[in-house]
Amino acid sequence: MTFKRILLALFFSFPNNILFPSIVSSRIEELKRKNLDFRLTLERMKTLEEENRRLRRALGIKERRPDLIYARVLGFYPSGFRKVAFIDLGKRDGIIKGTLAIDSQGYLLGKISQSFNEYSELILLDDPYFSLPVLIENKTAGLLKGTLWGSLKILYVEGDKNISIGDKVWLKYADLPIVVGRVQRVRETKNDFFLDIEVKPKSNVYSVREVFLLK
């Protein structure tokens, strides 16, 4: 037994300590712990998903999962004061007005404002004509508006809703939560009943070349 320990120390622990100093090994341990934690969370999620599916079946609720359709950006509205893109899918591909578009990370990019046979007009989050009802955490709902200058605004949120910086702004589309961004600034306005809320979008609306449509 002692001989085995010596051998282990000689051939495993000793080279291991030389090759991986204590900081590195403690980081590896930490990552292993995190990895295990994620695995357990994933297992729990799987169980919850299964349970959710069973309960839905029992209650007769149909599961709605939107199809993701890939679309390429053909071009943009030729103005510096509008943020509208044209995509290569249209009515014949089943794209209709109001279809939401997300980026490859799953963050909201915009919505279809007009659909033609061969192509569609995608109004981006930051366009001044963009508007969409959204949720702020689970506190309240408001109307998201584009500002043309990177950040977005949420209108019609009353002052007593306890909105704070960092709150998640999202919306629910066919049982799928879609993140828009986070609250960047909250201001109470003197002469207005509603808060002045600024949101930093998660998606990069400055450079859009491909989108995923939620059908």
Partner: protein, 147 residues
């Protein structure tokens, strides 16, 4: 003259394509076609420059279709403003530069009113980028057209 007009038509059409394709994404907020119209208004006789402003304004309005002929109106207005100003204050490059600056601010304000949001930061950014690109573009375009 005919060659000049053909060359300018090609240049303006290419500017429109660049505006449509936006190779720099939305980081670049200026408009090449608008700068081309400024160039044409400064360097061509009134009749020709008016024609260019009208035709390309209409072209921009029709693609995508607009209910208001906003760009036709703005381009023609800017063309007339430039021609009239230069008619009375000609000969000095400082006047020309000042008029170009004023035309850019005027166009940015018109667009801001059209979208219903006046953002000083965006107007400033549009002004700076447009001015810089215009003077670079003018140099090369003038050389190409007069060659």
């Amino acid at each position: 003259m005919r060659t000049t007009l053909i060359k300018l038509s090609i240049a303006l059409f290419l500017f429109f394509l660049v505006d449509f394709l936006k190779p720099f994404g939305f980081y670049f907020c200026s408009e090449f076609l608008f700068l081309g119209i400024l160039f044409v208004s400064l360097n061509l006789a009134f009749l020709y420059s008016f024609g260019f402003a009208f035709v390309f304004g209409l072209f921009k309005d029709l693609f995508p279709p607009q209910s208001l002929l906003f760009y036709t109106f703005s381009f023609v207005l800017i063309n007339m403003f430039l021609r009239l100003t230069l008619k009375y204050f000609h000969g000095r490059s400082i006047i020309k530069n000042l008029v170009v600056g004023l035309a850019i601010i005027f166009y940015a304000l018109l667009n801001s009113i059209e979208v219903g949001q006046i953002l000083p930061s965006l107007i400033f950014s549009f002004f700076m980028q447009s001015l810089l690109v215009f003077f670079i573009m003018e140099r090369f375009l003038l050389k190409w057209v007069t060659d």
